[in-house]
């Protein structure tokens, strides 16, 4: 099948962004992919505004910690009150993280900085961090969104000094004579080199270099010199009295770091099946550019091979990609924010709650019979008042209080006219194909005759609406 201009543009929009939106999908027949790529860069050029969750975090959290410590020291608080306070704070943090989740999801759906938010989602999985501290999570997200399209070295350094990561990977407990290797290990295995490109000695020595990196009671990074191991360390054959920054620089000097990051991005943006020669070409240029992320992305999205049929329509949308993409095409407001979290939970991807430090595995791991059958029903749930009769598992770490799905999961104020406009000039007999061309990135097309039994043919609008919902309730729509 020849790749149409529309298909190329939609491919770019699904991979570099969250898919086409109703208001601009019509233009995709004519604009050149190269111009669309420039547009994506331009709309993501400005610095992001920080997403701040409603609560006053410094007062609510960090000062809370201070109070607790002070009170505890003065012996004024008995164990029970302390425990209650802690539980209350934890609950507050969970509520705040829930709000941060919704705020960020809104950005992904509505922000014009699509490229930035898409890459932020990638880094959110790469620098995977599961801590129940809304302030830490908020700050880490801001670091990621600020550097998402910038320099990987800057991003790595900022993440490594974020209290969120320090807490998650136990660097707060990493002190001279009693090193904790957790951060050093994940840094090499997951954040930079990848498994098999370092020795256990490198990890042990690097952990010593990171001794003393921690955070203070204000939730800010602090280099606690009195905990730092001043002896010489030997990492990748180099010996010196290294500190954390030195180790990060040493890791950035390894070409393998560029290769590892490029491979992961290739899998996320192009194809889960690696193409070694393309990855080598990309990663050597990425390395020479001194880790300029935008440069790497331009290499990918401006290449001819990115638009080859084998790279189109074979990526299983993550739950976030699915939910955000659906809502970009069909403008609506969710009646109940909890529904957005419930869908994330049921489909297996809750923002800020990655399964572990290795992030979401993606691909076929998203799919089992329960998640697939639910995915097929989601378009109907979101656009109707049907109640979702499915319960999420309880989770003692998260326990977001939404195991009970007694609330409506539907959207309100659905802007169908915006969607109808897309097909305003399409003759009725071509509608099924035209709708499939917008919704399906795969090569096959539905049989209009088969669909006829399942759609409402009364008015043109009814037909468009019900055809869209039916074509979204398919395995094809899970792919992009």
């Amino acid at each position: 099948m020849p790749v149409s201009n529309r298909l190329k543009n939609q491919h770019l929009l699904w991979r570099a962004a969250f898919g086409p939106m109703a208001e601009n999908a019509a233009a995709l027949d004519t604009i050149k992919p190269a111009d669309l790529w420039q547009l994506l860069l331009e709309t993501s050029a400005s610095k992001p505004e920080k997403l701040e969750v409603a609560d006053n975090l410094i007062a609510g959290l960090s000062n809370g910690v201070k109070d607790l410590v002070a009170l505890d020291k003065a012996g004024k608080m008995d164990e029970e009150t302390k425990k209650e306070r802690q539980q209350k704070m934890r609950q507050q943090s969970k509520d705040d993280i829930r709000n941060l989740n919704i705020l960020w999801l809104d950005e992904m759906i509505n922000s014009e900085a699509q490229l930035r938010e898409k890459l932020s989602l990638f880094w959110h999985g790469h620098f995977s961090c599961r801590v129940i501290n809304s302030y830490f999570q908020q700050e880490l997200l801001h670091i990621i969104r600020t550097h998402a399209l910038g320099n990987f070295g800057d991003l790595l350094k900022a993440v490594s000094k974020s209290p969120a990561m320090i807490q998650f990977l136990n660097n707060q407990q990493n002190k001279k004579k009693k090193p904790n290797e957790n951060f050093a290990r994940e840094l090499m295995e997951l954040f930079t080199l990848g498994r098999g490109h370092y020795s256990e000695t490198d990890i042990k020595e690097a952990a010593r270099a990171f001794t003393g990196w921690g955070f203070n009671l204000d939730g800010k990074f602090e280099n606690r010199a009195y905990f730092h191991d001043e002896e010489a360390k030997t990492i990748f054959g180099q010996t010196g009295n290294f500190n954390g920054d030195d180790v990060l620089n040493i890791l950035l000097k390894e070409k393998q770091t560029a290769k590892h990051i490029t491979s992961k991005l290739y899998s996320f943006l192009v194809n889960e099946k690696p193409d070694e020669s393309k990855i080598d070409w990309l990663s050597s240029r990425f390395f020479k550019s001194n880790y300029d992320i935008k440069y790497l992305l331009t290499d990918i999205f401006m290449s001819d091979w990115f638009y080859e049929p084998k790279n189109i329509g074979n990526h299983i949308k993550s739950p976030i990609e699915l939910l955000v993409g659906l809502r970009r095409l069909i403008p609506l407001k969710m009646e109940n924010d909890n529904a957005q979290l419930l869908f994330q939970k049921l489909l297996g991807q809750i923002l800020f709650y990655p399964p572990n430090v290795a992030g979401w595995p993606g691909g076929r791991n998203w799919i089992d019979s329960s998640t697939l059958m639910l995915r097929l029903r989601i378009p109907a749930f979101i656009t109707s008042s049907e109640k979702l009769n499915i319960r999420a598992k309880s989770d003692d770490d998260v326990n977001m209080g939404q195991t009970d799905a007694a609330y409506r999961t539907g959207g309100v104020g659905i802007d169908w006219p915006a969607v109808y406009k897309l097909f305003a000039s399409t003759p009725r007999e071509d509608l099924v194909k035209a709708i499939a061309d917008v919704l399906w990135q795969t090569g096959n097309r539905p049989e209009a005759k088969m669909l006829a039994a399942f759609v409402n043919e009364q008015s043109r609008e009814d037909f468009i609406r019900t055809t869209i919902l039916r074509l979204m309730a398919t395995p094809e729509y899970q792919l992009c």
Binding site: D368, S369, S370, L376, K393, D397, N444, A453, T474, P475
Partner: protein, 397 residues
Amino acid sequence: MLINRKTFIQTGTLASASVMLPGFLQALSRKPSVPPGNKVLVIVQFNGGNDGLNTIIPVTNDIYYRERPRLAIDKTKTLTLTDDAGLHPALVACKALYDEGNLAMLNTVGYPNPDRSHFRSMDIWQSGSQSNEYIYTGWLGRYLDAQCSGCDKPTQIIEMDDMLSLAMKGKNYSGIATTDPKRLYNSSNDPYYKQLIAGYQHGEETADYLYKTMGDAINSASYIHDKSQLQAAGKNYPATELGKNLKTIANLILSDINTKVYYLSLGSFDTHINQEAQQKRLFMQFNDAIKAFTDDMKAQHRFEDVLLMTFSEFGRRVGQNASNGTDHGTANNMFLISGALKQKGFLNPLPDLADLIDGDLKYTVDFKSVYATVLANWLGADDQKIIGKSYSKLKFI
């Protein structure tokens, strides 16, 4: 191909679903259904970290009573097992099973470098990984991959839940999650889905995979629903969620379904505060449901084909906290209930409370040893291939 839609909708059975599947989606060869005598494994997961020390109580251990001034259960209140051990007072049925020789207990089961996060530790238990390793398939999912190779419906494993846990996810196949076979059948038995499958042309690999999963799901839902119709289970199950789920399982066990593993969970056992009431309430539910289920299996002469195993992601701290609760700990005990036990009662010594790491128990049995035993000796599977490493086997089955 013209299909008379009316007939098609009316005969929404397994047979018609299979007929509708294009050739490449169909099984190469259909495996025969499993005859009675089929050994099944029932796993009950205690969510939240059950307090093992207040489950099997070391009634002569001074350290236990010293570390738990308000939470320790007095010897006279426990159900006596041995001179040194008693059961939680609510576990009356377990005590009876013990007396009959149908209960075995393993103490201090765990793994090296234990993780105290619920999520991570559950991940480790369900995937069967080391604590510094990240695996995205479950141990039962990998068993399913081996078992279902070329089969047309992955119904060898059923989880009684709306969502499927990691334990049941394999590389090529995943188990089926349902709390209600009828509801599962109704939601998947949509003629639209069948028409989609019928019209689908073999295409790109990922799309094929999704269509195959969809076909499997529809087939499985239909098959499970079909088998659940027999309703041969007894009547005396409690109306709790666990009771209802065990009754559904009993109905399936008593049919000729090919299911080998059933998975359930109960919780939350995360008792940081006011542990006594919470644990007691859950144990009463467990006890009543287990009694109904084991009585039923005995009456139907199938108890020797059933092995029921409990576990929790971790145990709890030896010392109680100031809120009459306990905090996250490490190694824990497991119950093994069956009419076919080769070893009964305690399989290993009670935990040594004088030899702790940071206030927590040291593990003495790797949980993967238990998995290896169950896979090889009960399910007849290649444990080493599924777990990825050889673990010494226990002798209780």
